[in-house]
Amino acid sequence: MKTLKESGLNKEEMIQAYTHILKGRRLDERLWQLTRIGKASFNISGQGHEVAQVAMAMAFEPEKDFFLPYYRDMTACLVWGMSAKDVLLGSFGKEADPSSHGRQMPNHYGSKKHNIISHSSTVSTQFPLATGVAYSALLAKKDFVALTATGEGSANQGEVQEAMNFAGVKKLPVIFVIENNGYAISVGIKEQYANETMAMRGPAYGFPGIQVNGNDFTETYLAFKKVVADAREGKGPALIEMMVQRLTSHSADDDHTVYRSQKDIENLKKNDGLLVMEKQLIEEGYLTREEMKDIDSRLKAEINQATDEAEAMADPDPETILEQVYAD
């Protein structure tokens, strides 16, 4: 593991990173809670992906770069600018939900204001879209970069190959990310792919492929820093495979104790990236346990307030069901 210091981020930035990670965790816990009590009908969780997502997202410039996320990318979306309330509006399916105005299921993130492009439930369709976003940077002669992510199971979809192939040919400023948590619902990686790493597929399409330990904040952050800088300079795309863990069941509709052993599940918790990061932060003197608690309390208060506010917002009006099918 690399030290946090080696990331080159200053103390304030590092605390910011930690705050995002913890916020991702706490907000997701709230979403589960709402699902359990029936106030939300569904949740799919990024727990275990948060450190990697924050390290990834902080290597970009959200005001100008575009993000095409997948359903576990809530924490990355927070770094990109979405608020806890924005996320909660989606879970409640409210009209004010910036992701879809209540049209899509929870966890289908998007926000015009924040350069986050809406995705569907059909996995990996965002990959070809990301190449279009990146191609527009060439056309506009601008130096923004597109980022898109998916799971390791979803990365086997043919559209992923087609998008990577095109990006390689056109040397597009797009970073492809595979968040490898070892499972596609119940299917382990042995039944998903036979190659040693998913990162190997980068070179098979003509650009770098890098595997990083997603619990290693600095390794992940620096890997992205490099490929984002290259993409911005016109050197073309990259594929980054982040090794992460899925700490929870696949979704609210799944029970992973059916197909994962008790021991495996306990091991997951031991390697929880959040705890790894907290240990590093303390050891390297960025934060004390006490300060962390303060941050946590602040976040909980913020999330509580956001929950109340979001819940109080209006549901979509049934009369709007045919709005925006076509342009007026």
Partner: protein, 328 residues
């Protein structure tokens, strides 16, 4: 007789056929192992028939589609599961270009006996991509059959018929009926014809044609109307393509008043074809315009409860439409 749900009836039918014919194999995402499908339809099959005959595939629907065709050319009877009917879309090329045409383009030298299973239908808070009735996309592709059961009895008999059929069959399962319907069905081996509509209720006043959830609504509404002295003939389309024209035309002629019900969008649905057939073959028997009751023309069902409710063809809506037609 044995009491079982619609879901259990499908499982039992598959199990019986796998026992009967060792050429039958089944696969799909999460289909194998201990999970046995996200809805549990294939639970226990891997244990019973081994990991070679019941197995997980990577998350790639095009591959599921083509794998089945390849197995078919070699004399196997593949059952490929699409986790949701929405996710047939990445496999459309294989289904149309390969499965449905292998026989025709070789004049029977090579064939592809296949069952593609897919849970479809809305009312489960699944949003745009977990609620669709995608049968219209594959409708009208000669060589391919599309069927769907609307009762527990048919669920078992029809899946067995589909497996024994020498044609590729797209077998739609209504996900809301999985656990909603529970019935006594015969213990002994039986099949339901693959190409016949079914008059499920006799009546002289109006004819209602549908399948799936809305067919069940129609049956309940017919009972309610019966108390008011209106008797509805109710027809379960069952074989969506090719259609059993004879039965449909006969039922239309019988009452001269036809209501076509589908939970899909109105335009381009299978009910449109049925309307066209009746208008071509039975026009002068009609005493009322051929009325279609369907969802609005929005892209599938939005997520928010207010919008989903607005979209759904409910029992109340079916009852009201039947009444209106009877009074015409």
């Amino acid at each position: 007789m044995a009491m079982m749900t619609y879901l259990e009836a499908i499982r039992k039918g598959i199990e019986e056929e796998m026992t009967r014919d060792e050429k039958v194999v089944i696969f799909g995402e999460d289909v194998g192992g201990v999970k046995g499908g996200v809805f549990g339809v294939t639970k226990g099959l891997a244990e019973k028939f081994g990991d070679e005959r019941c197995f997980n595939t990577p998350l790639t629907e095009g591959q599921i589609g083509g794998l089945a065709v390849g197995l078919g050319t070699m004399g196997y009877r593949a059952i490929g599961e699409f986790q949701f009917a929405d996710y047939i879309l990445p496999a459309v090329n294989q289904l149309i270009s390969e499965a449905s045409r292998m026989r025709y383009r070789t004049k029977g030298d090579w064939t592809a006996p296949i069952v593609y299973r897919a849970p479809y239908g809305g009312g489960v808070r699944g949003g745009l991509y977990h609620s669709q009735s995608t049968e219209k996309v594959l409708f009208g592709q000669p060589g391919l059959r599309i069927v769907t059961p609307s009762s527990v009895y048919d669920a078992k008999g029809l899946i067995k018929a589909a497996i024994r059929c020498d044609d590729p069959v797209l077998f739609y399962e209504h996900k809301r009926l999985y656990r909603l319907l529970k019935e006594d069905v015969p213990e002994e081996d039986y099949v339901v014809p693959i190409d016949k509509a079914n008059v499920v209720r006799k009546g002289d006043d109006i004819t209602v044609i549908g399948y799936g959830m809305v067919l069940n609504h129609a049956l309940k509404a017919a009972d309610a109307l019966s108390e008011e002295g209106i008797e509805a003939e109710v027809v379960d389309v069952r074989s969506l393509y090719p259609l059993d024209k004879e039965t449909l035309i006969k039922a239309a002629k019988k009452t001269g008043k036809v209501l076509l019900v589908t939970e899909d969008n109105k335009e381009g649905s299978i009910m449109s074809e049925i309307a066209a057939i009746i208008a071509e073959e039975a026009l002068f028997y009609l005493d009322a315009p051929i009325k279609r009751l369907a969802g609005p023309d929005s892209p599938s069902m939005p997520y928010a409860l207010s919008l989903e409710r607005e979209f759904l063809v409910t029992e109340d809506k079916v009852l009201a439409a039947m009444k209106e037609l009877a009074e015409f």
